[in-house]
């Protein structure tokens, strides 16, 4: 058991770890140092905040508090002293640790563009990463009529949709040939672009930006094809980079992120890293689910509740969810190789599906638009379960094969053994027999058989059979 745990970072990973530690037995002191001045918040909801659908308090997360948790926000850490097992804050305070966890996250990448000085961004040019960024965007958006978004990845598109909901004329500029090229194939990208266009977001593809100019009245974005776009606001969404500065300065092994093993330890056994800043098995996570899985494993290890816990990455599902857009992408949906492939495209309605199957398992999928099976597909992929024998179920979901037997077109075609009233187990044959015994009205048939006396749902069917029997009166009822 570790007595003094210091967590650097109060974002999605750090706050989660504090909660996981809080939930486990044992005496320990946990200090959380958040560089941002805010309570822990849900970064996933920033685009919803941007859209004006929630207020800041609505994106706050539950914070572990009391019981040995010391949460300190607005306290950036300047350095790690590994020899002394201390961290030093920007204010010069030294805080000792028995175990240190780096959950420093990632920072927005600012594109190297003429006119864009990372140290001195103009007011109308804002990256989209933190709550403070969001506040700046909202300040700039107040009174604005148009916005440019540089970067057509997941976050850029969510932000663009948020700004469009706010009523801004929004244009996304993306240097690649199709949107979200890491998750989508060109066909899906095209359907997505169409959906966005219908929602009032213009897309400019395959055109790098070459320069930015901003003043008090607006922003100008120069494009490589010679065009120039003007707007009141430029939002930068050009990817993120793990924040590894502290680790690097402390001499920990850093490649793209802080390198950690299956127990999330760095090459200093007293220091771990989780979340966006960590690199496990050569992979940066960049998503919440793996960060939270890492927090759980690390809490198990640090508290001794499962000292042998190992982080095992699970296949990643990317979900873009903005009003009017429903997109899920998982695994290797665009690669070639052996196996089956299912596709469905209905660009007019903004629906696209591509699923790749190998050895009865999903290896990747893109589902865009109205795909009723999306929940099933995600679970089958996530758990590695076999796919349905009838592959159409992956496209049509529960719509396929689960409806009750279709009612026979005519009672004449209904087999005698067919149960008409479930509540009282009355078959068609029993209804016919009651008729033959003299029951000549619906009420009489009901009284004789009790059909329709439970939930009442078969009353129409009973009525239909009585009608049929009345009409067939002249004819011999043979069945």
């Amino acid at each position: 058991m570790t007595a003094r745990v210091v967590i650097v970072g109060n974002g999605m990973a750090g706050a989660r770890l504090a909660g996981e530690l809080h939930a486990r037995e044992g005496d320990r002191k946990v200090t959380v140092l958040g560089a941002e001045p805010h309570r822990a918040y849900n970064r996933i909801l920033l685009s919803t905040l941007l859209a004006g659908r929630v207020d800041e308090p609505d994106i706050e997360l539950t914070e572990a508090a009391g019981h040995g948790i010391d949460l300190r926000t607005g306290v950036p850490v300047a350095a790690i002293d590994r020899a002394a097992r201390e961290v030093r804050t920007d204010d010069g305070e030294r805080i000792s640790y028995d175990h240190l966890v780096l959950a420093t996250g990632a920072r927005a990448v600012l594109p190297p563009l003429p006119g864009l000085d990372p140290a001195n961004l103009p007011e109308r040019v804002v990256p989209f990463r933190t709550l403070d960024d969001c506040r700046r965007i909202l300040a700039a958006a107040a009174g604005a009529r148009s916005a440019l978004v540089l970067g057509g990845g997941l976050l850029g598109l969510e932000a663009a949709r948020g700004l469009a909901i706010r009523g801004l004329t929004t244009t996304v500029v993306h240097p690649r040939g199709h949107l979200m090229e890491r998750q989508l194939d060109p066909a899906a990208g095209a359907v997505l672009a169409g959906t966005l266009a219908d929602l009032g977001v213009t897309i400019q593809l395959a055109v790098p930006a070459t320069g930015v100019a901003a003043d008090a009245t607006g922003v100008r974005l120069d494009l490589a094809d010679g065009r120039t776009l003007h707007a009141d606001l430029l939002l930068l969404s050009c990817g993120v980079r793990p924040d590894t500065a502290l680790a690097q300065a402390a001499g920990l092994t850093v490649r793209r992120g802080v390198v950690v093993d299956d127990q999330l330890r760095t090459d200093d056994r007293s220091i771990s890293a989780i979340g966006d800043c960590a690199e496990h098995d050569g992979v940066l996570t960049g998503l919440v689910a793996p960060a939270w899985a890492q927090a759980r494993v690390l809490a198990d290890v640090l508290t001794g509740s499962d000292p042998l816990a190992r982080y095992r990455p699970r296949p990643v599902v990317t979900r873009l969810k903005a009003a009017g857009i429903d997109l899920a992408s998982m695994g290797d949906a665009v690669g070639g190789g052996p196996g089956e492939e299912l596709t469905f495209t209905d660009p007019t309605r903004g629906t696209y599906a591509r699923l790749r199957i190998r050895d009865e398992r999903l290896v990747g999928a893109i589902l865009l638009g109205d795909n009723p099976a999306v929940g099933t597909v995600i679970q089958l992929f996530d758990r590695g379960h076999p796919v349905p024998t009838d592959r159409r179920a992956l496209l049509l979901g529960r719509a396929l094969g689960t409806a009750g037997a279709a009612p026979a077109a005519s009672p004449a075609l209904m087999p005698d053994a067919a149960t008409v009233c479930q509540c009282n187990t009355v078959s068609k044959g029993a209804l016919v027999r009651s008729w033959r015994s003299g029951a000549r009205t619906v009420d009489a048939v009901v009284a004789a058989t009790r059909a329709g006396t439970g939930c009442g749902g078969c009353r129409d069917a009973v009525g239909g059979i009585v009608d049929w029997l009345s009409q067939a009166e002249a004819v011999e009822v043979t069945r």
């Binding site: 909801l45 979900r319 099976a373 929940g375 995600i378 758990r383 439970g454 749902g457």
Partner: protein
């Protein structure tokens, strides 16, 4: 229903009552068949020590055996060595008398009942949110007028068919019905929208629905501010439940979550109901709380035509949990650890308050302690069949066998009665007067059509007999006879006084008043004053009148699937059977309709396992196994198998269920465990 008796026997006739509107299912129509059933017990049975078999005995001999056994065990090991197990089918009078008999007749703290397996999670969640637990805080008829009705883990089309008439009316009125169930049930088939989550993920679904309501601006902020407390903590906890996260856990598509949230958030009259599917989990209380949180955030409870409620599972599931057969409870829904409650009830019972025992333990814990070194050595069972209905039933069966004395009062030789040392034949529903309280909190009369057959006594008479015989001397016996009347009207009069001032206050309810109206809704504190069809219109039953939010988080099932047990297993009912089947398995028509257990599985799963429709299959968990024919259905998830729990012996589904219990309610996790399935 109305009964008539003529030369041909007793016949059942539906009654135009406001709840069922004349509807009866097959179980109701055929109920009279049990009155003169050939297997009916009409004489006490006592186990012959020489042969080990049950033999007919006189009432004197049987009761003597019981009383001698109780005395010996209590002299040796103290009063708590004798325990009582009741049932949610008992009338209010019997439930009340049983609780009183345990506390001051046997002086044991150990009494609980099978309602713990039924309503306890919803009860606990209702108590902590609203300060009161009444299944529906509004009349059932409100369902028919709801714009949006959300049923979570409820299958009334098979468990309570007459209730479906309200659902039909609701949709005829243009309302939207949304059903949450892992199976395409007869109810789900009628829904406008069916969410089919993995079992055990209803909580995640609820939190995501509230998350969406927040991000879409459907939370009733004014209501939250004026009528509730604790919203901040819930708001922060559901901020972490964005829909895609719940989708991955539950399998319910985000679009369906959004459509559901929209129907709930923008409908005028909106009702959310939970039932066993959501409640029978080791996180059942938290799951119900998640739906209560959703209802509160949307401003539903107390709003005309809207609200949250739970569907009761047993005939007297509501009244059975109000009058003291619960381990921690005294009549009037009072807590046994509340000094004022003890003082009041002890006063009615004519004993010093400090003579009342303290709280016992919940049903499963009680059953699991039987015959163990620290557990009770004798058990008296009334109206319950835990050999079939308890989770991990094989283990509970062994515990019952380990008892020194098992006494079962029942009308048939149930599987539990078959293990007993003494079996006492009891009267049936048509042979005794009394009251039941339905899911609306509406107290109803049960009227005797005829006296019990010769050789059969009512439960109240048995309790009176035992109390008198347990008395140490003649004076005490006279005293006990006065304390434990066998006449239900006398018991009800005392119940009224005992419940007076409690949450479930029956003080103003007389049998005459029930007869004059179509039942009387509690609380009803005075004979002159009105009853309470609708709760929460002005305030909640909490000290400050505000409802309480409780932040709750999804957590995995107590047992997750693994390589050895790769499938989820869930249980439920079928239309033609009821509970442990002690009665319904003995009715010919019901046996024809649903003769034996089955294992429902998806054709894809069956194909992978090499199983055809009708093949005998074995279902095995870490706790046991059962066998039944396969029934293939595309209406169940391919990762989940289902079986009904009504059957005994080789087809006993509860042989495999998990005995993990909810930390608050003691509810076992009937609705999910890990199994493997193979051709038997």
């Amino acid at each position: 229903m109305v009964l008539r008796e003529d030369d041909a026997g007793v016949s059942v006739h539906p009654r135009q009552f406001p709840t069922n509107r004349g509807g009866l299912c097959q179980k109701g129509w055929t109920a009279a068949e049990l009155l003169d059933h050939p297997e009916r017990l009409t004489t006490p049975l006592v186990r012959d020590p020489a042969t080990g078999t049950l033999r007919p005995a006189s009432w004197d001999a049987a009761l003597d055996r019981v009383v001698t056994g109780i005395r010996a065990i209590q002299n040796d090991a103290g009063p708590d060595a004798v325990a009582v197990f009741g049932g949610g089918g008992l009338t209010n009078e019997k439930a009340y008398a049983l609780g009183k008999f345990a506390r001051i007749g046997l002086r044991t703290r150990h009494i609980d009942y099978n309602g713990r397996f039924c309503m306890s999670s919803a009860a606990a969640a209702g108590m902590r949110a609203f300060g009161i637990d009444r299944g529906l805080p509004f009349p059932l008829a409100d369902l028919g007028r709801a714009d949006t009705l959300l049923l979570v883990g409820a299958n009334p089309a098979e468990t309570m068919p007459p209730l479906v008439r309200w659902l039909t009316e609701q949709r005829a009125n243009g309302g939207q019905l949304i059903v949450v169930d892992p199976r395409v049930t007869a109810t789900a088939r009628q829904a406008d929208l069916h969410l089919q989550p993995l079992p055990g993920t209803d909580l995640a679904v609820a939190n995501a629905l509230l998350h969406i309501a927040l991000t879409e601006g459907w939370v009733d902020r004014e209501y939250v501010a004026e009528r509730t407390a604790g919203f901040e903590a819930v708001r922060r906890s559901v901020a972490a439940w964005w829909p895609a996260r719940a989708e991955q856990i539950s399998g319910v598509p985000v679009a369906d979550l959004e459509a559901t949230a929209r129907a709930l958030g923008t409908g005028g009259r909106v009702i959310i109901l939970t039932a066993r599917g959501a409640e029978q989990h080791a996180k059942g209380v938290d799951t119900v709380s998640a739906y209560v949180n959703l209802a509160l955030a949307l401003g539903l409870p107390g709003r005309a035509g809207s609200g949250y409620g739970c569907l009761t599972g047993q005939g007297n599931g509501q009244g059975g949990r109000e009058h003291g057969q619960k381990a921690d409870q005294l009549p009037g829904y009072r807590r046994i650890d509340d000094p004022a409650a003890r003082e009041h009830v002890a006063g009615v019972w004519g004993v010093p308050a400090d003579e009342l025992p303290g709280p016992g333990v919940p049903a499963y814990q009680l059953l699991d302690s039987l015959g163990t070194p620290d557990g009770p050595r004798a058990l008296l069972v009334f109206g319950s069949n835990p050999v079939v209905s308890a989770p991990r039933a094989g283990r509970i069966e062994r515990r019952l066998r380990d008892l020194d004395l098992l006494v079962v009062a029942d009308l048939m030789l149930s599987e539990t009665a078959a293990l007993a040392d003494v079996v006492l034949p009891t009267a049936q529903w048509a042979e005794e007067d009394g009251t039941m309280t339905n899911l609306e909190g509406r107290v109803l009369r049960r009227r005797a059509l005829r006296p019990p057959p010769p050789g059969v006594r009512t439960d109240l008479a048995i309790i009176a007999d035992l109390a008198a015989r347990l008395a140490p001397d003649a004076a005490a016996a006279t005293d006990a006879a006065a304390r434990f009347p066998a006449d239900p009207a006398t018991v009800f009069a005392e119940l009224r006084r005992a419940s007076a001032g409690g949450a479930a206050d029956y003080a103003g309810i007389s049998w005459a008043r029930i007869d004059a109206a179509d039942g009387v809704y509690w609380p009803c504190p005075t004979e002159e004053g009105s009853d309470t069809p609708r709760l929460f219109t002005d305030r909640f039953a909490t000290p400050d009148g505000r409802a309480r939010f409780h932040p709750v988080d999804h957590r995995p099932a107590a047992e997750e699937v693994c390589a050895a047990y790769p499938l989820h297993f869930t249980t439920g009912r079928v239309l033609a059977q009821y509970q442990s089947g002690t009665q319904t398995r003995r009715v010919a028509a019901l046996r024809r309709a649903a003769a034996e257990a089955f294992v429902e599985l998806h054709p894809d799963l069956a194909g992978r396992l090499g199983i055809d429709d009708g093949d005998p299959v074995r279902v095995t968990s870490r706790r046991g196994e059962f066998s039944a024919p396969a029934r293939l259905s595309a209406g169940i998830r391919p990762d989940t198998v289902f079986a009904p729990f009504h059957y005994a012996g080789a087809g006993r589904a509860n042989s495999v269920t998990n005995d993990a219990v909810d930390p608050i309610s003691g509810m076992p996790e009937f609705k999910i465990c890990a199994v493997r399935v193979e051709k038997a």
